[in-house]
Symmetry: C2
Subunit: 210 residues, 2 copies
DNA sequence: ATTATCTATAGATCTATAGATAATGC
DNA sequence: ATTATCTATAGATCTATAGATAATGC
Protein backbone atom coordinates (compact mmCIF):
# COMPACT_ATOMS: atom_id res chain seq x y z
CA UNK A 1 0.00 0.00 0.00
CA UNK A 2 1.16 3.51 0.68
CA UNK A 3 -0.81 6.23 -1.08
CA UNK A 4 -0.68 10.01 -1.15
CA UNK A 5 -3.54 12.42 -1.68
CA UNK A 6 -2.26 12.81 -5.22
CA UNK A 7 -2.54 9.07 -5.68
CA UNK A 8 -6.12 9.29 -4.48
CA UNK A 9 -6.99 12.00 -7.00
CA UNK A 10 -5.48 9.87 -9.75
CA UNK A 11 -7.44 6.84 -8.54
CA UNK A 12 -10.65 8.86 -8.55
CA UNK A 13 -10.02 9.93 -12.13
CA UNK A 14 -9.21 6.37 -13.15
CA UNK A 15 -12.46 5.09 -11.61
CA UNK A 16 -14.42 7.75 -13.49
CA UNK A 17 -12.70 6.95 -16.77
CA UNK A 18 -13.41 3.26 -16.39
CA UNK A 19 -17.02 3.84 -15.32
CA UNK A 20 -17.72 6.34 -18.12
CA UNK A 21 -16.48 3.81 -20.64
CA UNK A 22 -18.09 0.70 -19.16
CA UNK A 23 -21.44 2.42 -18.60
CA UNK A 24 -21.54 3.58 -22.22
CA UNK A 25 -20.74 0.07 -23.35
CA UNK A 26 -22.93 -1.97 -20.97
CA UNK A 27 -25.36 0.48 -19.36
CA UNK A 28 -25.62 1.64 -15.76
CA UNK A 29 -26.96 -1.77 -14.74
CA UNK A 30 -24.60 -3.78 -16.90
CA UNK A 31 -21.50 -3.71 -14.69
CA UNK A 32 -20.91 -4.05 -10.95
CA UNK A 33 -18.70 -1.99 -8.68
CA UNK A 34 -16.26 -4.83 -8.07
CA UNK A 35 -15.62 -5.19 -11.82
CA UNK A 36 -15.21 -1.42 -12.23
CA UNK A 37 -12.76 -1.14 -9.35
CA UNK A 38 -10.86 -4.09 -10.68
CA UNK A 39 -10.50 -2.47 -14.11
CA UNK A 40 -9.27 0.66 -12.33
CA UNK A 41 -6.58 -1.42 -10.61
CA UNK A 42 -8.24 -1.23 -7.19
CA UNK A 43 -10.46 -3.40 -4.98
CA UNK A 44 -14.10 -2.99 -4.10
CA UNK A 45 -13.48 -2.04 -0.45
CA UNK A 46 -11.97 1.33 -1.30
CA UNK A 47 -14.91 2.44 -3.41
CA UNK A 48 -16.81 4.21 -0.62
CA UNK A 49 -13.87 6.45 0.23
CA UNK A 50 -14.35 7.89 -3.28
CA UNK A 51 -18.15 7.94 -3.57
CA UNK A 52 -20.93 7.93 -1.01
CA UNK A 53 -23.04 5.53 -3.10
CA UNK A 54 -23.29 3.85 -6.47
CA UNK A 55 -25.71 6.58 -7.55
CA UNK A 56 -23.08 9.23 -6.95
CA UNK A 57 -20.69 7.37 -9.23
CA UNK A 58 -23.42 7.13 -11.85
CA UNK A 59 -23.97 10.89 -11.70
CA UNK A 60 -20.27 11.75 -11.93
CA UNK A 61 -19.68 9.18 -14.66
CA UNK A 62 -22.61 10.59 -16.66
CA UNK A 63 -20.93 14.02 -16.77
CA UNK A 64 -17.56 12.44 -17.40
CA UNK A 65 -18.86 10.39 -20.32
CA UNK A 66 -20.58 13.40 -21.88
CA UNK A 67 -17.40 15.47 -21.61
CA UNK A 68 -15.34 12.58 -22.92
CA UNK A 69 -17.59 12.13 -25.96
CA UNK A 70 -17.53 15.85 -26.69
CA UNK A 71 -13.73 15.96 -26.60
CA UNK A 72 -13.58 13.02 -29.01
CA UNK A 73 -15.95 14.81 -31.41
CA UNK A 74 -14.40 18.25 -31.14
CA UNK A 75 -11.03 16.80 -31.97
CA UNK A 76 -12.53 15.80 -35.32
CA UNK A 77 -14.45 19.04 -35.96
CA UNK A 78 -12.09 22.02 -35.68
CA UNK A 79 -13.79 25.10 -34.23
CA UNK A 80 -12.99 27.38 -37.18
CA UNK A 81 -13.24 24.95 -40.08
CA UNK A 82 -15.59 25.32 -43.03
CA UNK A 83 -18.75 23.21 -43.50
CA UNK A 84 -18.80 22.26 -39.81
CA UNK A 85 -22.08 20.33 -40.06
CA UNK A 86 -20.67 18.15 -42.81
CA UNK A 87 -17.60 17.47 -40.69
CA UNK A 88 -19.75 16.67 -37.68
CA UNK A 89 -21.82 14.19 -39.66
CA UNK A 90 -18.62 12.70 -41.10
CA UNK A 91 -17.29 12.07 -37.61
CA UNK A 92 -20.51 11.05 -35.90
CA UNK A 93 -22.39 8.87 -38.36
CA UNK A 94 -19.61 6.35 -38.94
CA UNK A 95 -19.22 2.61 -38.45
CA UNK A 96 -16.29 3.39 -36.13
CA UNK A 97 -18.49 5.38 -33.80
CA UNK A 98 -21.20 2.74 -33.96
CA UNK A 99 -18.73 -0.01 -33.12
CA UNK A 100 -17.11 1.82 -30.19
CA UNK A 101 -19.87 2.78 -27.83
CA UNK A 102 -17.47 2.91 -24.90
CA UNK A 103 -15.56 5.87 -26.33
CA UNK A 104 -18.35 7.58 -28.26
CA UNK A 105 -21.16 10.03 -27.72
CA UNK A 106 -22.81 9.62 -24.31
CA UNK A 107 -26.11 10.97 -25.61
CA UNK A 108 -26.41 8.05 -28.02
CA UNK A 109 -25.16 5.49 -25.50
CA UNK A 110 -26.81 6.66 -22.27
CA UNK A 111 -29.94 8.75 -22.95
CA UNK A 112 -32.25 5.82 -22.25
CA UNK A 113 -30.27 4.79 -19.18
CA UNK A 114 -30.39 8.38 -17.94
CA UNK A 115 -34.16 8.53 -18.44
CA UNK A 116 -34.52 5.56 -16.05
CA UNK A 117 -32.02 6.84 -13.50
CA UNK A 118 -33.00 10.00 -11.61
CA UNK A 119 -29.43 10.38 -10.31
CA UNK A 120 -28.20 10.98 -13.87
CA UNK A 121 -30.91 13.28 -15.23
CA UNK A 122 -29.56 16.66 -14.17
CA UNK A 123 -26.10 15.90 -15.51
CA UNK A 124 -27.49 14.55 -18.75
CA UNK A 125 -29.54 17.71 -19.16
CA UNK A 126 -26.56 20.00 -18.71
CA UNK A 127 -24.42 17.98 -21.10
CA UNK A 128 -27.11 17.86 -23.76
CA UNK A 129 -27.70 21.62 -23.59
CA UNK A 130 -24.01 22.36 -24.12
CA UNK A 131 -23.88 19.90 -27.00
CA UNK A 132 -26.99 21.44 -28.61
CA UNK A 133 -25.48 24.93 -28.37
CA UNK A 134 -22.33 23.74 -30.04
CA UNK A 135 -24.14 21.97 -32.89
CA UNK A 136 -26.59 24.87 -33.23
CA UNK A 137 -23.62 27.15 -33.89
CA UNK A 138 -22.87 25.12 -37.01
CA UNK A 139 -26.29 25.77 -38.56
CA UNK A 140 -27.75 28.58 -40.62
CA UNK A 141 -30.91 30.28 -39.48
CA UNK A 142 -32.19 32.73 -36.87
CA UNK A 143 -30.02 32.95 -33.77
CA UNK A 144 -32.84 32.17 -31.34
CA UNK A 145 -33.63 28.90 -33.10
CA UNK A 146 -30.12 27.56 -33.32
CA UNK A 147 -30.05 25.70 -30.03
CA UNK A 148 -33.36 23.96 -30.74
CA UNK A 149 -32.29 23.04 -34.26
CA UNK A 150 -28.95 21.82 -32.96
CA UNK A 151 -30.82 19.67 -30.47
CA UNK A 152 -32.94 18.16 -33.23
CA UNK A 153 -29.82 17.33 -35.26
CA UNK A 154 -28.40 15.56 -32.20
CA UNK A 155 -31.62 13.58 -31.77
CA UNK A 156 -31.43 12.33 -35.34
CA UNK A 157 -27.72 11.49 -35.12
CA UNK A 158 -27.92 9.81 -31.70
CA UNK A 159 -31.04 7.87 -32.65
CA UNK A 160 -29.29 6.59 -35.77
CA UNK A 161 -26.22 5.40 -33.86
CA UNK A 162 -28.34 3.71 -31.19
CA UNK A 163 -30.46 1.92 -33.78
CA UNK A 164 -27.50 1.06 -36.01
CA UNK A 165 -25.99 -0.66 -32.94
CA UNK A 166 -29.15 -2.60 -32.17
CA UNK A 167 -29.75 -3.92 -35.65
CA UNK A 168 -28.48 -7.35 -36.56
CA UNK A 169 -27.79 -6.98 -40.25
CA UNK A 170 -24.55 -5.10 -41.04
CA UNK A 171 -25.84 -3.84 -44.39
CA UNK A 172 -29.00 -2.42 -42.86
CA UNK A 173 -26.88 -0.88 -40.11
CA UNK A 174 -24.63 0.91 -42.60
CA UNK A 175 -27.66 2.09 -44.58
CA UNK A 176 -29.21 3.62 -41.47
CA UNK A 177 -26.14 5.80 -40.98
CA UNK A 178 -26.12 6.91 -44.62
CA UNK A 179 -29.85 7.59 -44.83
CA UNK A 180 -29.78 9.61 -41.62
CA UNK A 181 -26.93 11.67 -42.98
CA UNK A 182 -29.02 12.54 -46.05
CA UNK A 183 -32.07 13.28 -43.93
CA UNK A 184 -30.15 15.75 -41.78
CA UNK A 185 -28.48 17.39 -44.77
CA UNK A 186 -31.81 17.78 -46.54
CA UNK A 187 -33.40 19.23 -43.43
CA UNK A 188 -30.89 22.12 -43.49
CA UNK A 189 -31.14 22.64 -47.23
CA UNK A 190 -34.73 23.73 -47.82
CA UNK A 191 -35.59 27.30 -48.72
CA UNK A 192 -36.04 29.42 -45.59
CA UNK A 193 -39.64 30.49 -45.25
CA UNK A 194 -41.05 27.17 -46.31
CA UNK A 195 -40.36 25.53 -42.97
CA UNK A 196 -40.98 28.64 -40.87
CA UNK A 197 -44.47 28.99 -42.30
CA UNK A 198 -46.23 27.07 -39.62
CA UNK A 199 -44.07 28.48 -36.86
CA UNK A 200 -45.45 30.93 -34.33
CA UNK A 201 -43.10 33.21 -32.42
CA UNK A 202 -43.22 32.83 -28.66
CA UNK A 203 -43.62 36.28 -27.05
CA UNK A 204 -40.35 37.28 -25.38
CA UNK A 205 -40.47 37.77 -21.61
CA UNK A 206 -43.60 35.72 -21.03
CA UNK A 207 -41.95 32.55 -19.87
CA UNK A 208 -44.55 29.80 -20.04
CA UNK A 209 -44.45 27.35 -17.13
CA UNK A 210 -45.51 23.76 -17.53
CA UNK B 1 -54.75 -24.34 -8.58
CA UNK B 2 -56.38 -26.24 -11.42
CA UNK B 3 -55.35 -24.96 -14.84
CA UNK B 4 -56.19 -25.96 -18.37
CA UNK B 5 -53.98 -25.64 -21.43
CA UNK B 6 -56.08 -22.64 -22.35
CA UNK B 7 -55.24 -21.08 -19.00
CA UNK B 8 -51.59 -21.66 -19.74
CA UNK B 9 -51.80 -19.88 -23.09
CA UNK B 10 -53.51 -16.97 -21.37
CA UNK B 11 -50.81 -16.93 -18.68
CA UNK B 12 -48.10 -16.92 -21.33
CA UNK B 13 -49.72 -13.93 -23.05
CA UNK B 14 -50.08 -12.11 -19.72
CA UNK B 15 -46.41 -12.66 -18.88
CA UNK B 16 -45.41 -11.31 -22.30
CA UNK B 17 -47.66 -8.26 -21.94
CA UNK B 18 -46.26 -7.47 -18.51
CA UNK B 19 -42.67 -8.03 -19.64
CA UNK B 20 -43.07 -5.97 -22.83
CA UNK B 21 -44.40 -3.09 -20.77
CA UNK B 22 -41.98 -3.34 -17.84
CA UNK B 23 -38.94 -3.76 -20.10
CA UNK B 24 -39.88 -0.66 -22.08
CA UNK B 25 -40.27 1.25 -18.85
CA UNK B 26 -37.29 -0.03 -16.85
CA UNK B 27 -35.02 -1.82 -19.33
CA UNK B 28 -34.14 -5.50 -19.63
CA UNK B 29 -32.04 -5.28 -16.47
CA UNK B 30 -34.45 -3.09 -14.53
CA UNK B 31 -36.92 -5.72 -13.40
CA UNK B 32 -36.58 -9.27 -12.05
CA UNK B 33 -38.51 -12.38 -12.96
CA UNK B 34 -40.23 -12.58 -9.56
CA UNK B 35 -41.65 -9.05 -9.96
CA UNK B 36 -42.78 -9.80 -13.53
CA UNK B 37 -44.53 -13.01 -12.55
CA UNK B 38 -46.15 -11.26 -9.62
CA UNK B 39 -47.54 -8.54 -11.91
CA UNK B 40 -48.85 -11.28 -14.17
CA UNK B 41 -50.68 -12.80 -11.18
CA UNK B 42 -48.34 -15.81 -10.93
CA UNK B 43 -45.34 -16.91 -8.87
CA UNK B 44 -41.70 -17.22 -9.87
CA UNK B 45 -41.63 -21.01 -9.77
CA UNK B 46 -43.86 -21.41 -12.80
CA UNK B 47 -41.71 -19.24 -15.01
CA UNK B 48 -39.59 -22.02 -16.46
CA UNK B 49 -42.59 -23.95 -17.71
CA UNK B 50 -43.19 -20.97 -20.03
CA UNK B 51 -39.62 -20.05 -20.99
CA UNK B 52 -36.37 -22.00 -21.00
CA UNK B 53 -34.41 -19.00 -19.71
CA UNK B 54 -34.64 -15.31 -18.97
CA UNK B 55 -33.04 -14.62 -22.36
CA UNK B 56 -35.89 -16.39 -24.11
CA UNK B 57 -38.38 -14.13 -22.37
CA UNK B 58 -36.30 -11.12 -23.39
CA UNK B 59 -36.40 -12.22 -27.02
CA UNK B 60 -40.16 -12.89 -27.06
CA UNK B 61 -40.89 -9.69 -25.14
CA UNK B 62 -38.77 -7.71 -27.61
CA UNK B 63 -41.02 -8.84 -30.49
CA UNK B 64 -44.12 -8.39 -28.39
CA UNK B 65 -43.18 -4.83 -27.43
CA UNK B 66 -42.42 -3.92 -31.05
CA UNK B 67 -45.76 -5.29 -32.21
CA UNK B 68 -47.54 -3.60 -29.33
CA UNK B 69 -45.99 -0.22 -30.14
CA UNK B 70 -46.86 -0.61 -33.82
CA UNK B 71 -50.51 -1.35 -33.02
CA UNK B 72 -50.69 1.71 -30.80
CA UNK B 73 -49.26 3.87 -33.60
CA UNK B 74 -51.28 2.37 -36.42
CA UNK B 75 -54.47 3.01 -34.48
CA UNK B 76 -53.61 6.69 -34.71
CA UNK B 77 -52.47 6.70 -38.35
CA UNK B 78 -55.19 5.20 -40.56
CA UNK B 79 -53.76 3.27 -43.51
CA UNK B 80 -55.59 5.24 -46.18
CA UNK B 81 -55.62 8.72 -44.67
CA UNK B 82 -54.09 11.80 -46.25
CA UNK B 83 -50.81 13.39 -45.11
CA UNK B 84 -49.75 10.19 -43.32
CA UNK B 85 -46.32 11.53 -42.30
CA UNK B 86 -47.94 14.49 -40.58
CA UNK B 87 -50.27 12.15 -38.73
CA UNK B 88 -47.39 9.91 -37.74
CA UNK B 89 -45.42 12.85 -36.34
CA UNK B 90 -48.55 14.08 -34.55
CA UNK B 91 -48.92 10.72 -32.84
CA UNK B 92 -45.27 9.95 -32.18
CA UNK B 93 -43.64 13.21 -31.14
CA UNK B 94 -46.00 13.99 -28.28
CA UNK B 95 -45.61 14.53 -24.52
CA UNK B 96 -48.04 11.62 -24.05
CA UNK B 97 -45.73 9.23 -25.87
CA UNK B 98 -42.71 10.60 -24.03
CA UNK B 99 -44.42 10.15 -20.66
CA UNK B 100 -45.63 6.58 -21.33
CA UNK B 101 -42.60 4.56 -22.30
CA UNK B 102 -44.26 1.36 -21.15
CA UNK B 103 -46.94 1.54 -23.86
CA UNK B 104 -45.00 3.35 -26.58
CA UNK B 105 -42.60 2.64 -29.40
CA UNK B 106 -40.17 -0.18 -28.57
CA UNK B 107 -37.54 1.25 -30.92
CA UNK B 108 -37.30 4.39 -28.81
CA UNK B 109 -37.48 2.51 -25.51
CA UNK B 110 -35.36 -0.57 -26.21
CA UNK B 111 -32.88 0.02 -29.06
CA UNK B 112 -30.00 0.60 -26.63
CA UNK B 113 -31.01 -2.37 -24.49
CA UNK B 114 -31.22 -4.53 -27.61
CA UNK B 115 -27.76 -3.43 -28.71
CA UNK B 116 -26.37 -4.79 -25.44
CA UNK B 117 -28.40 -8.01 -25.45
CA UNK B 118 -27.59 -10.50 -28.22
CA UNK B 119 -30.77 -12.46 -27.46
CA UNK B 120 -32.87 -9.46 -28.58
CA UNK B 121 -30.98 -8.35 -31.70
CA UNK B 122 -32.62 -10.55 -34.32
CA UNK B 123 -36.12 -9.68 -33.15
CA UNK B 124 -35.28 -6.00 -32.96
CA UNK B 125 -33.95 -6.15 -36.49
CA UNK B 126 -37.11 -7.73 -37.89
CA UNK B 127 -39.34 -5.26 -36.06
CA UNK B 128 -37.35 -2.27 -37.20
CA UNK B 129 -37.41 -3.39 -40.83
CA UNK B 130 -41.18 -3.73 -40.82
CA UNK B 131 -41.56 -0.36 -39.16
CA UNK B 132 -39.22 1.27 -41.71
CA UNK B 133 -41.21 -0.20 -44.60
CA UNK B 134 -44.42 1.17 -43.16
CA UNK B 135 -43.01 4.66 -42.59
CA UNK B 136 -41.26 4.57 -45.97
CA UNK B 137 -44.63 4.04 -47.60
CA UNK B 138 -45.72 7.43 -46.26
CA UNK B 139 -42.90 9.30 -48.02
CA UNK B 140 -42.48 10.71 -51.51
CA UNK B 141 -39.48 9.69 -53.58
CA UNK B 142 -38.06 6.76 -55.52
CA UNK B 143 -39.48 3.39 -54.50
CA UNK B 144 -36.08 1.83 -53.84
CA UNK B 145 -35.16 4.55 -51.34
CA UNK B 146 -38.34 4.53 -49.34
CA UNK B 147 -37.34 1.94 -46.77
CA UNK B 148 -34.03 3.66 -46.06
CA UNK B 149 -35.70 7.07 -45.79
CA UNK B 150 -38.39 5.60 -43.56
CA UNK B 151 -35.65 4.19 -41.36
CA UNK B 152 -33.99 7.58 -41.08
CA UNK B 153 -37.30 9.18 -40.08
CA UNK B 154 -37.65 6.56 -37.34
CA UNK B 155 -34.12 7.26 -36.10
CA UNK B 156 -34.90 10.95 -35.74
CA UNK B 157 -38.27 10.34 -34.05
CA UNK B 158 -37.00 7.63 -31.70
CA UNK B 159 -33.89 9.62 -30.81
CA UNK B 160 -36.06 12.61 -29.95
CA UNK B 161 -38.35 10.60 -27.68
CA UNK B 162 -35.44 8.93 -25.91
CA UNK B 163 -33.67 12.24 -25.33
CA UNK B 164 -36.86 14.09 -24.37
CA UNK B 165 -37.31 11.42 -21.69
CA UNK B 166 -33.78 11.78 -20.38
CA UNK B 167 -33.76 15.53 -20.11
CA UNK B 168 -34.58 17.14 -16.77
CA UNK B 169 -36.15 20.41 -17.87
CA UNK B 170 -39.76 20.06 -19.09
CA UNK B 171 -39.53 23.09 -21.37
CA UNK B 172 -36.39 21.79 -23.06
CA UNK B 173 -38.05 18.40 -23.39
CA UNK B 174 -41.10 19.85 -25.16
CA UNK B 175 -38.85 21.92 -27.43
CA UNK B 176 -36.92 18.82 -28.47
CA UNK B 177 -40.12 17.21 -29.75
CA UNK B 178 -41.17 20.33 -31.65
CA UNK B 179 -37.76 20.98 -33.18
CA UNK B 180 -37.45 17.37 -34.32
CA UNK B 181 -40.85 17.58 -35.94
CA UNK B 182 -39.70 20.59 -37.95
CA UNK B 183 -36.42 18.91 -38.85
CA UNK B 184 -38.20 15.85 -40.22
CA UNK B 185 -40.78 17.92 -42.13
CA UNK B 186 -38.05 20.05 -43.67
CA UNK B 187 -36.07 16.98 -44.64
CA UNK B 188 -38.98 15.81 -46.82
CA UNK B 189 -39.70 19.22 -48.28
CA UNK B 190 -36.57 20.04 -50.26
CA UNK B 191 -36.56 20.00 -54.06
CA UNK B 192 -35.74 16.56 -55.39
CA UNK B 193 -32.38 16.58 -57.13
CA UNK B 194 -30.67 18.77 -54.58
CA UNK B 195 -30.31 15.95 -52.09
CA UNK B 196 -29.72 13.24 -54.68
CA UNK B 197 -26.72 15.06 -56.11
CA UNK B 198 -24.12 13.34 -54.00
CA UNK B 199 -25.82 9.99 -54.20
CA UNK B 200 -24.29 7.13 -56.14
CA UNK B 201 -26.42 4.23 -57.29
CA UNK B 202 -25.37 0.85 -55.99
CA UNK B 203 -25.07 -1.69 -58.87
CA UNK B 204 -27.92 -4.17 -58.59
CA UNK B 205 -26.95 -7.79 -58.06
CA UNK B 206 -23.51 -7.16 -56.68
CA UNK B 207 -24.32 -7.62 -53.03
CA UNK B 208 -21.47 -6.11 -51.03
CA UNK B 209 -20.49 -8.13 -47.98
CA UNK B 210 -19.15 -6.49 -44.84
C1' DA C 1 -50.99 -40.06 -15.94
C1' DT C 2 -49.95 -35.65 -17.09
C1' DT C 3 -49.31 -30.89 -16.16
C1' DA C 4 -49.91 -25.85 -14.69
C1' DT C 5 -48.77 -23.71 -10.83
C1' DC C 6 -47.04 -23.29 -6.12
C1' DT C 7 -43.63 -23.20 -2.07
C1' DA C 8 -38.96 -23.58 -0.81
C1' DT C 9 -34.21 -23.26 -1.58
C1' DA C 10 -29.42 -23.51 -3.65
C1' DG C 11 -25.84 -20.80 -5.52
C1' DA C 12 -24.32 -16.73 -7.60
C1' DT C 13 -24.37 -12.16 -7.76
C1' DC C 14 -24.23 -7.14 -5.90
C1' DT C 15 -24.05 -3.02 -2.64
C1' DA C 16 -22.48 -1.47 1.55
C1' DT C 17 -19.90 -1.84 5.93
C1' DA C 18 -16.27 -3.30 9.42
C1' DG C 19 -11.83 -3.72 10.67
C1' DA C 20 -6.78 -4.45 9.31
C1' DT C 21 -2.57 -2.67 7.00
C1' DA C 22 0.92 0.33 5.57
C1' DA C 23 1.84 4.38 4.00
C1' DT C 24 1.47 9.86 4.20
C1' DG C 25 1.84 14.28 6.37
C1' DC C 26 1.46 17.35 10.31
C1' DA D 1 -2.59 10.71 13.96
C1' DT D 2 -4.63 10.38 9.73
C1' DT D 3 -5.88 8.09 5.61
C1' DA D 4 -5.86 5.38 1.08
C1' DT D 5 -6.44 0.94 0.22
C1' DC D 6 -7.12 -3.93 1.31
C1' DT D 7 -9.47 -8.37 2.99
C1' DA D 8 -13.60 -10.26 4.70
C1' DT D 9 -18.38 -10.44 5.31
C1' DA D 10 -23.39 -9.23 6.12
C1' DG D 11 -27.71 -8.86 3.94
C1' DA D 12 -30.36 -8.29 -0.05
C1' DT D 13 -31.13 -9.40 -4.43
C1' DC D 14 -31.71 -12.60 -8.69
C1' DT D 15 -31.87 -16.84 -11.77
C1' DA D 16 -32.67 -21.50 -11.86
C1' DT D 17 -34.07 -25.99 -9.90
C1' DA D 18 -36.51 -29.51 -6.87
C1' DG D 19 -40.43 -31.33 -5.16
C1' DA D 20 -45.46 -30.74 -3.66
C1' DT D 21 -50.32 -29.80 -4.95
C1' DA D 22 -54.51 -29.91 -7.32
C1' DA D 23 -56.44 -29.69 -11.28
C1' DT D 24 -56.97 -31.35 -16.51
C1' DG D 25 -57.54 -34.69 -20.06
C1' DC D 26 -56.82 -39.25 -22.12
Amino acid sequence: MGHSQQDKAASHERILDVAARQFRKRGFDGVGLAALMDKAGLTLGGFYKHFTSRDQLVAEAMSHALKNGRVWLQDKVPPDGSAPLGRLLNAYLTPEHRDNAGNGCAVAALAVDASRTPAASADFNAGFRGFADWVGGMLDGPEDEKRARGGAVICAMAGAIAIARAVDDPRLSDDILKATRRLIENSQKHKPGAGARRRRRRPVGRAAKR
